[in-house]
Symmetry: C2
Subunit: 578 residues, 2 copies
């Protein structure tokens, strides 16, 4: 990964590719690279859909190697949804393939002069950019079929669906999985809209003829990887819970904890939870000939995904994630697993963030457009997004815009981004992360569910403010570092609980690059990333007043625990004092 591919969409006659050395970005990967580049090169007050914004796609520093779990790819830009800096990352094949091709990043920049749509093909011989308006408004699955016909299914595809072309605030950047299905998404913050604004529909990465990236010390690397995999296998979450039931194992857990936001964050428990739980999903998948345990990229040993078939046994979608099942399910009062799977498929197909869409539909339900629990209605609304009707565009612009247009006060967003599947009143550590993250409300930015609910990495009472600031701070730092390695965040369960697995991760980095990093160095990297992001946001006009939850979380009590969010504002302002 010694070069950066820059594609200038504003070049006369159409996008033009240039390969440059990594230069000042050398040694950075994933989120560290996307955020550093965006902070340095994108004017914080620019329009997110304008010429000055840049979309940065970067595999992690361990991607493309034999290391297990190293298949995350980061996508960054100034977010059309939040107006702040954004990094969203995705599984799938793209990270590994792109890293093997030697690219530390692909950067889309400039603004096209025309409405033409382009396809980018990258292989060992270089880069081809092809105008192809026949791709216009193709959903991701159809696009994948078409690309498979042209390039086979051994390549990796990064793409946008119609939502990205329409430049909607909930538009994602999709990555194909091992079956060349567009099921993994850099979902949050509308990054697909930025890709759409550059006129790039799809990037095909073909690593035929390329090799695994070689470590400086191959033996040490192999050894570290072995210990790392062992650590993951022996931890109950990564070794048992996630493989058996996927992330949706959380439905019953969070519901039991009373932190499952139901009916647009009106209560903390959902009567229909059991019908849509991970256990029920796994059973259904197995019974219908799908897979309950499956990886999303080569080198995954946790295998938290799966395939979900319809009643007739035909593939419908990948195993919906917990947050998706919640967003389209409990949050909307829907307990029909097939409907939720259909909504997941539509999100993937149109290129939409499942969390943002579930939240937007929840707000629309509060506005009276649909009754809570109306699964058919939700599917109908989602199809409007794909069609680009005015109502569809409203919803596809996210929960905040939906609230604005329909005059709704109860809009669960921070910095314009919808809250995920953990009520901040009953999981107060998550509330701290939602409020203070540079990303807007984002569970992955500092997953305090660990110590708040799962008893991983210590224990902190989820209903009380004490200890939440420190917990969220440490998790946000660790996450910013992990998001830069290319490692799947789920390694954190084992890394937090098992010192030897944490050491194995550091050994991987050291062995690969010939370094002598310590845990402190990893923390320093995380802090540096957060500092860079906070600085960008400050220059974009963000203040501590943006680091707040919507008011109703402080005033409306959440059943069954009858709690409000009680972490004081002054404490929130200390998260980044380290």
């Amino acid at each position: 990964m010694i070069k950066i591919l820059r594609i200038d969409s504003g070049a006369a006659g159409g996008p033009k590719a240039t390969e440059v050395p990594t230069g000042e970005y050398t040694g950075l990967g994933g989120r560290a690279l996307t955020s550093t580049l965006v902070a340095k090169e994108v004017p914080p007050l620019c329009h997110p859909l304008g010429a000055e914004n840049k979309l940065v796609i970067a595999p992690g520093i361990l991607s493309g190697t034999i290391a297990a779990m190293s298949g995350r790819i980061s996508v960054g830009a100034k977010s059309p949804l939040t107006g702040g800096i954004k990094e969203a990352n995705s599984g799938g094949q793209a990270a590994q393939v792109m890293a093997r091709l030697g690219y530390a990043a692909i950067v889309l920049e400039g603004k096209p002069e025309t409405d033409d749509l382009y396809k980018v093909y990258v292989n060992k011989d270089g880069v081809k950019i092809i105008k192809d308006n026949s791709l216009k408004m193709l959903p991701n699955y159809d696009l994948a079929e078409k690309m498979k016909a042209e390039y086979g299914d051994g390549v990796a595809m990064i793409s946008i669906g119609p939502a990205g072309e329409m430049k909607l605030g909930a538009a994602t950047v999709a990555c194909t999985d091992m079956e060349f299905r567009p099921t993994r998404h850099a979902g949050r913050g509308g990054l697909g809209a930025v890709m759409g604004s550059k006129g790039i529909k799809v990037i095909i990465l073909d690593d035929a003829g390329m090799k695994m990236r070689p470590p400086k010390d191959p033996e040490k690397y192999k050894e570290a990887n072995k210990k790392f995999v062992e650590g993951l296998a022996k931890h109950p979450v990564t070794g048992q819970g996630l493989p058996a039931y996927g992330t949706n194992v959380l439905t019953n857990i969070i519901n039991e904890a009373g932190g499952y936001p139901t009916y647009n964050f009106k209560q903390g428990r959902f009567d229909g939870a059991n019908q849509i739980s991970g256990e029920t999903t796994a059973e259904t998948e197995t019974a219908r000939g799908g897979l309950a345990t499956h990886g999303c990229h080569r080198g995954c040993v946790i295998r938290c995904s799966g395939t979900y078939n319809d009643k007739d046994g035909h593939y419908l979608t990948k195993q919906p994630e917990y947050e998706t099942v919640w967003a389209h399910g409990g949050n909307c009062g829907i307990c029909d697993l097939d409907a939720i799977a259909m909504l997941d498929f539509l999100d993937d197909n149109y290129g939409l963030d499942t969390i943002e869409m579930g939240a937007a539909i929840g707000v629309a339900m509060d506005a009276g457009l649909l009754k809570f629990g109306d699964a058919e209605g939700a599917i109908r609304l989602m199809k409007e997004v794909g069609q680009g009707t005015p109502l569809g565009r409203i919803l596809g612009s996210g929960a905040a815009v939906t609230g604005r247009v329909f005059g709704v006060e109860r809009v669960p967003v921070v910095k314009g981004q919808a809250l995920p599947a953990y009520d901040p009143r009953a999981v107060q550590g998550m509330g701290v992360t939602y409020a203070t993250s540079t990303m807007g409300a984002d569970h992955t930015a500092g997953y305090a569910v660990t110590a708040n609910v799962l008893g991983v990495g210590g224990k902190v009472d989820p209903l009380k403010p004490e200890g939440q600031i420190e917990l969220s701070r440490n998790l946000q730092i660790a996450t910013a570092a992990v998001d830069s390695t290319g490692m799947c965040l789920f390694i954190a369960f084992a890394v937090l609980d098992q010192p030897e697995t944490f050491q194995a991760l550091i050994d991987l980095i050291n062995a690969f690059y010939g370094l002598n990093m310590t845990g402190d160095d990893v923390a320093a990297l995380g802090k540096q990333v957060l500092k860079t992001e906070r600085d960008f946001n400050a220059r974009a006009g963000f203040t501590k007043e943006d680091d707040r939850l919507p008011g109703f979380f402080k005033t409306e009590r959440l059943a069954p625990h009858n709690v409000v969010f009680t972490v004081p504002d002054e404490e929130l302002d200390k998260v980044f004092n380290w």
Copy 2:
């Protein structure tokens, strides 16, 4: 004006009225009162449509007296459009009637428990609040007919149309004029949505049996008023231009100056300007039996309004203001005066801000929904707003939301509020006001067109940055003071140019209240109002980064002068350094 009427919409069983002494707000009127009360009582981070926001309606300190031009009423709240503090003021009868009834302010607070709609009736005997769901979604003109049947046309009406009930960001608070038509609006910032969120459809003010407010020194007051009126009569703008052609006299002037934003701010001159100018409007009005010169409230001596009849000689709307003619006209490439008048009528009828709606339709045209110049299409879109279709709600949420939903980069807003009818590149003093005003882009907040174009109050080259900061600063200070007196802002032309007219204004205040104020005291009041508003906005999370124009004004050259906005950011940050 010794009492405040507080109506708590959150009271059990429906809104409850309480009369309280003015207390700490004694001596304040208009914008000084609304902004002081909002800043003190409304939490800056609250949801604009929530229980904690308050809608404050306040006549000026000279309203309800014999003073000419004293009929402005201020409406304030946290704005649903900008998220900051908001004062918008209106002509019409309400200020005079309310002041005579003895109210310094009516404050709507709390949040209703039900969707019921209420009517408030105030007369010398007190306050009645009546539930009346038959008023739901009534347009303002129909509402006026209904109220006239109940209360006669000697009362004043403050109301919202369907837009306010739908809580749209462009919703206004309407006031009836001398003919009991709902033609005067506190237009900007979505204040109608706040009124709608309180469940109050209409306030009827009946001053039967009440008298003119008596000055401390009646003789001096009469004398000062005489001089004041003389000053207005002898100034060419207030004595000739405005009476003859209304505010729309500006179309030819601003177009000639190359500062008339055309096709969503793409050029500074409009080929069709002559077809929609004030001169053409006055001719048309006269030819059709309308009025080219008419006041909007009792006591107006400038009489810049009029009545616009359709081709058959039937009343269609009041004389559309310059900014309306521009917003729906040149900004959308439309040069059909009848279509513009129809759009003005629809705005008034639904209760929508003409500037925000014209800007939103301009953005929609840029998004390809309509062709520029399509007058019928614009009327069709406007009717969608009244019907509350998804597309209508998008547009009614304003230009910024419309840009978000349709993925448009060229969105002429500051702090979420649309720029009015003066291009900041060719009238750079207005650019300073747009960027820095506490209100979002607002021409009335510091009308630098005076010295930039009209040669009133000095001369400052409109195409250059020099002198614009000081000009905008002084005008913003003066305006904040004038907006607190109840005086129509148009007195400023004579007050700026004629020291004796300025003195007459101060004499009016002194004679009425038995004070010894000087010009410096007036400036101090204006500064205090701005400071209060700036402080609210800072606590709401606004920073200097919010005091900026959209980027394209700094990069795209405006024909015919081929200029960009050149006032440096660092200079903008000095506007409030006094």
